[in-house]
Symmetry: C2
């Protein structure tokens, strides 16, 4: 009975799916497009993707390695063979590699960290480690430091507030910090801001090790020797080559002196395994950590400082290297000056089967199928640019340099940027510009999940219904479209979206293919096909999603940007900001009153070091009216545009102008001056958090001013955000004006 | 400035404190009583308590041991020397002690559990283990079983529901289960109900071991050899001697055959240390446990079943032994037939410094000071009975047998029962009959916290403001009295309150003296004075609280029962029940719809064993009106009584009758027939949970019918609860009638 209902639901859903129009296409054109997409799908081959993955993940291939140069050649030959116009664009960037890495416990006992990952039985790739860069954090400064250890949990701002309550100052100390909760680069940044002299980062088994699940090779999770490499440059300031902010790192541009690069860390930092962390953490004394700080090593975690002391010595080769972005162009038949850009990096910290090859092979399959269609006479109407980026791992360097280098052209021609990166079995994740939310929801309804046979949208909705919180369940019930997430940072969309204001979307599947191999020796073909996506079934699904997006963006007569969903999300962000301010105001007043009344002094254990929190300045009321006013304008404009689109059409001679108005609307969300203190980030709706790193801050000028208690700045930040949204509303009204009823 | 405010607050508070009248006393009498209490306090000596603790915790002294017999003698001589009329009442009970304990891992590797706790450096008491019973669970049946292991988390009902979703059946298997979340006796009970053949219980270091804090002797928590002993009799059915339910186990009463005793476990059960658990848990394979099930051993936890197999063999000496309750009586000067009963057990699983000596020494100090006052001419008006109970640890046996034995007298004479047991540094906990809530709140406002100098009530309120949730903070803001907790089970108040309906209160301090020693070799004087309450400062505070309670109950002209607070709490319970039903109804409907619509089939990972939950019968609407009506009667009655008390007085010749009406009002909350399926438990407002053990279920007939989805029974249970509350309301109105304006 239940199965029958299930089947019936499926049938009904499929029937509905088949009838849905495609945004930007007439009914007729939609029929043609769907036939094209069927052809597109049929040329995709998971087997071929598997072959590419085997080849591309056979050896470690970090930026600057021999393998990477070979990969660039292989990729450009492949793309060229399919009919693309390929250029390999070279940039000359600074890329530190490890020279000396020493970490010792010097008191109360001694121990020398191994800093080495061990090959494992059953995975021959792990024996291929000659080219592998030893575990390190790129853009740590050189240095030798010795001092007492302090355990700082995840090393986020709240952790330092808590340490202050314990009377613990990290000044002059080396902090040991867990991976997780913030982007890794935030950890040494905050440690240095608090006066620490060195940072040791490790993966606690509670988060990524035996506590989370079986460890490699028995399971997906980190074994005791695994170390997460990764960049620690201050990416929330600017990504890309640290010597050439804002300009492409071609041969002859002005460069900063290394020591003047503001995105270098201020103190040395090294990542280690939990095997190496154990003796260090065991030796730390002092107060037992708060319950929420505990990890899963078989010890009592203490805060320190000391008696454990460590010596950390790091030296790097500060070499300038050449990196290679592979750019493959397929000129559009009708609108060659409108570019749909599609990218995935190909460099890896390691063998990179998951990160980034699982996404790259989907892009290759897509590019091959799109080219085949073109070769068979179904050339896309707009120009498609496929980009395989180099040196993403060190700080989105390949993509950032290319975007900075080609900024003027991109500003004119770029319709949208679609990014992928690592992938895994599971549920579709769509994140990016909300003006493309409806567009991607249509695709998620059109593509079928390979495991369950329902649409990707339905599977994601089912998961939200089963595992989501009240808010998510309500959203599923009340909203036709899945709300897409906003983008912070962490992959190559950042320069497109946040520096140039090109509408961007990042696509991936996840949730059923556990990680653990991330940036370790173990991100191999064997790991990937055992645990993350056996058979590359979801690389195939990713190619279906991203390929549809590319082809629909390329072929839609009127570009499929949509503004009511965007406006709905802006409304949500505005209400979040108002709630944030209200909650902070109430909570600050509450806690300050408790402090003033001596309630903490009465409540806290007088024999323990934990003291009251420090009193905070009260939270004033802010003038959110400008944002509310802009929101109202947006609501009207979005509705007008939808109405005009449903009831009118654009004259052929104004089509290009309308489309340019549409695709450049995202540019209006940026301001030339950028965000306060970090001008590279120009987008005023989406930015990576200054103290979270990858994590997004929406309407960042306002949100971060409130969160960081820069209350004096809030009202002016509200005005800035309101002004970009007002410009957007005006633009949408103008676009509606092109549509004659 | 802040400190000044703090000082001023203190001064103001103390000024207020000094002026508050005492419930049940005229203004004049209150002045006399406060002077008496000052005298009472001044005779208390923490040093003397320390001496008694050293003596009474020098050796293990479980029921039936030589040390216990000596303790009974010591206690009765002491009390006699102070002027009490002492009897030692003997009961003849069944008490199994361990004969054979064998636990082996038999596959896939072998390991023999040590089942032994090791002495530690720095604690000479831990070398005194000759008389110590080896770690075991009393009232496990004998048996030898061999089978595959299944890890069942805490072994509560929700855990078995989750196992069912994983397709795991424990039938024919041995379960290994963590201590915590439910009373230990529930674990083998539920395991057996689910078909398991044996139960192994261990303390996971996440809950009580190195993860929680430093381990003994460096800290308070369980070291790797520590094992929690404890009774596993089915106490939610009835406590006390398993052979003589409902009657005192004197020499000549009828006894059940051992094999017919329903409170014996159905399967063998043994507690072990985490050192012994590690090889067993490491050997379990199968699916990785859900995240919330993880412990802190350095392994990946798996559910099983197998490949780990274990053999468990247990045999016990099924001996009848004599136990000794020490009963010390001080006849009241004015109302000798009204008894205030005050108890604490003296038997221990071990040395018992914390459990129960820390509470017992407070009771001894109290008894000594009360006797000294009596000897100096300030004899209490009512009779005070001090009871030192034997064999609490095995199932409240000493107290239960005494209560059953003396039920008729107690029913007539018992005004109230005040219990204490283990104590520690920290915050006052008051739990019990809500008709005494206001009375105990006055005491909590009158006694000063020894660490901070504010009243116990203010310190508790401060803690709720600092660490409490929204509800608790609101309660502090809106309610003059701290809401006292309801009593489930776990100490000797149970027979008084739940079998006979004698208003009872359990008192303790906790929150700043961590456990870990509980029921292990390490519950020693050294542990207690190092970690739980150095200087026995809080045993002294406990004596101040309990002594005031005893003396005020003994001397109040009109007994200090109060019904508006009681009514307010009944209102809360009623709203909780209504919310429980509503939430279950909504949640059941929601989950059933997801199951019916196949949403789980879409959302869950098709490669993993976790399936959808099973559909549940829908939750009907219940008729809560009878409870609402009784609540209304109670509200009126409670208000009348308070009004009458404020504006009138009782005639001297009716005083005894009024007081009897008041103190026996709690009896009206019981019904002779008891709770459905467990007639020993007669109280219809407070009972230990049938599937939680110690944890209280308020209005248990209704609450457990809803929770256990016996929906047909709910309306009739509502009527029963409404009827006892209606009787209570009538009684209160009658009591008010004695007070002439």
């Amino acid at each position: 009975m239940r199965f029958l209902t299930f089947l019936l639901t499926l049938l009904l859903l499929n029937a509905v799916v088949a009838q849905e129009p495609i945004r930007g296409f007439s009914e007729e054109a939609a029929t043609v497009q769907r036939a094209l997409e069927a052809g597109y799908d049929s040329a995709l081959s998971a087997e071929e993707m598997d072959g590419w993955m085997q080849r591309l993940s056979a050896r470690p291939h970090h930026a600057g390695s021999v393998a990477t140069e070979e990969h660039a050649e292989f990729l450009s030959e492949l793309m060229e063979s399919w009919g693309y116009d390929v250029t390999v664009e070279e940039y000359d960037i600074l890329l530190p590699t490890p020279k000396i890495r020493e970490l010792e416990l010097t008191a109360p006992t001694t121990f020398t960290a191994t800093l080495t990952e061990m090959p494992v039985d059953g995975d021959p790739s792990t024996l291929q480690y000659d080219d592998l860069l030893a575990p390190y954090n790129a853009f740590s400064i050189d240095g030798e430091v010795e001092g007492e250890l302090v355990f700082v949990n995840y090393g986020v701002p709240a952790d330092y507030d808590m340490l202050e309550r314990y009377g613990i100052d990290v000044a002059g100390k080396i902090v040991i910090v867990k991976y997780g909760q913030s982007w890794r680069g935030i950890k040494p940044k905050l440690a240095a801001e608090n006066g620490a002299i060195g940072t040791i980062i490790y993966s606690d088994p509670a988060d990524d090790g035996y506590a989370a699940g079986d460890v490699y090779p028995d399971g997906a999770f980190k074994n005791e020797t695994a170390v997460q490499r990764g960049s620690v440059m201050d990416m929330p300031l600017y990504p890309g080559d640290i010597l050439t902010p804002g300009v492409g790192a071609t041969g002859n541009v002005d460069r900063l002196e290394i020591q003047d690069a503001p995105t270098l860390t201020k103190i040395p930092v090294l990542p280690i395994s939990y095997r190496d962390a154990l003796p260090l953490l065991s030796a730390i004394g002092g107060t037992v950590v708060p319950e929420e700080w505990r990890g899963a090593l078989p010890i009592t975690y203490h805060l320190g400082p000391g008696p454990a002391r460590a010596r950390l010595k790091l030296e790097f080769n500060w070499d300038r290297i050449t990196i290679y972005d592979v750019i493959a162009r397929l000129e559009g038949s009708d609108y060659p000056d409108e570019w749909v850009i599609r990218g995935n990096h190909y460099d890896a910290w390691n063998h990179g089967a998951a990160d980034p090859i699982s996404g790259l092979v989907a892009m290759l399959a897509e590019a091959k199928s799109v080219a085949a269609l073109a070769n068979a006479g179904q050339r896309p109407a707009r120009t498609i640019v496929y980009a395989a980026w180099d040196s993403e791992e060190q700080g989105l360097i390949g993509s950032t340099e290319w975007v900075e280098h080609h900024a003027a052209e991109l500003d004119r021609h770029a319709v949208a940027y679609i990014n992928t990166d690592g992938n895994a079995r599971g549920f579709i994740n769509i994140a990016g510009s909300h003006t493309l939310e409806r567009f991607f929801n249509q695709i998620a309804r059109d593509v079928v999940d390979p495991q369950t046979g329902v649409s990707l949208a339905d599977r994601r909705r089912a998961r939200m219904l089963v595992s989501g919180d009240e808010t998510q369940r309500q959203e599923v019930a009340e909203r036709d479209d899945l709300r897409i997430a906003a983008l912070g940072s962490g992959s190559d969309y950042s320069p497109f979206l946040q520096h140039l204001g090109i509408a961007s979307v990042h696509l991936s599947f996840s949730g059923e293919g556990p990680g653990g191999s991330y940036h370790t020796l173990y991100d191999t073909y064997e790991h990937y096909t055992s645990f993350r996506d056996p058979g590359l079934v979801y690389s195939d699904a990713l190619a279906r999603v991203a390929g549809r997006a590319t082809l629909r963006l390329a072929n839609a007569r009127i570009l499929p940007f949509e503004f009511t969903g965007f406006t709905d999300t802006i409304e949500l962000y505005l209400s979040e900001l108002e709630e944030l301010a209200d909650e902070m105001r109430t909570e600050t007043a509450r806690v300050n009153a408790l402090i003033d009344d001596g309630i903490y002094d009465i409540a806290l254990d007088p024999t323990k070091p934990l003291g009251p929190p420090k009193a905070e300045s009260p939270v004033p009321y802010f003038n959110f009216a400008p944002l509310s006013n802009s929101l109202q304008l947006l609501q009207n404009a979005a509705a007008s545009f939808e109405h005009a689109l449903a009831n009118g059409d654009v004259r052929e001679n104004e089509l290009a102008e309308l489309n340019a108005f549409l695709y450049s609307s995202e540019r209006l969300l940026t301001r030339e001056a950028g965000l306060e203190g970090r001008p590279w980030y120009r987008h005023h709706i989406y930015a990576p958090g200054f103290y979270t790193g990858y994590g997004v801050k929406t309407i960042p000028g306002v949100r971060e001013s409130i969160e960081q208690r820069s209350f004096d700045a809030v009202d002016s930040q509200i005005e800035l955000a309101a002004s970009v949204l007002g410009d957007m509303a005006e633009r949408i009204e103008m676009a509606a004006g092109y549509l004659d009823p």
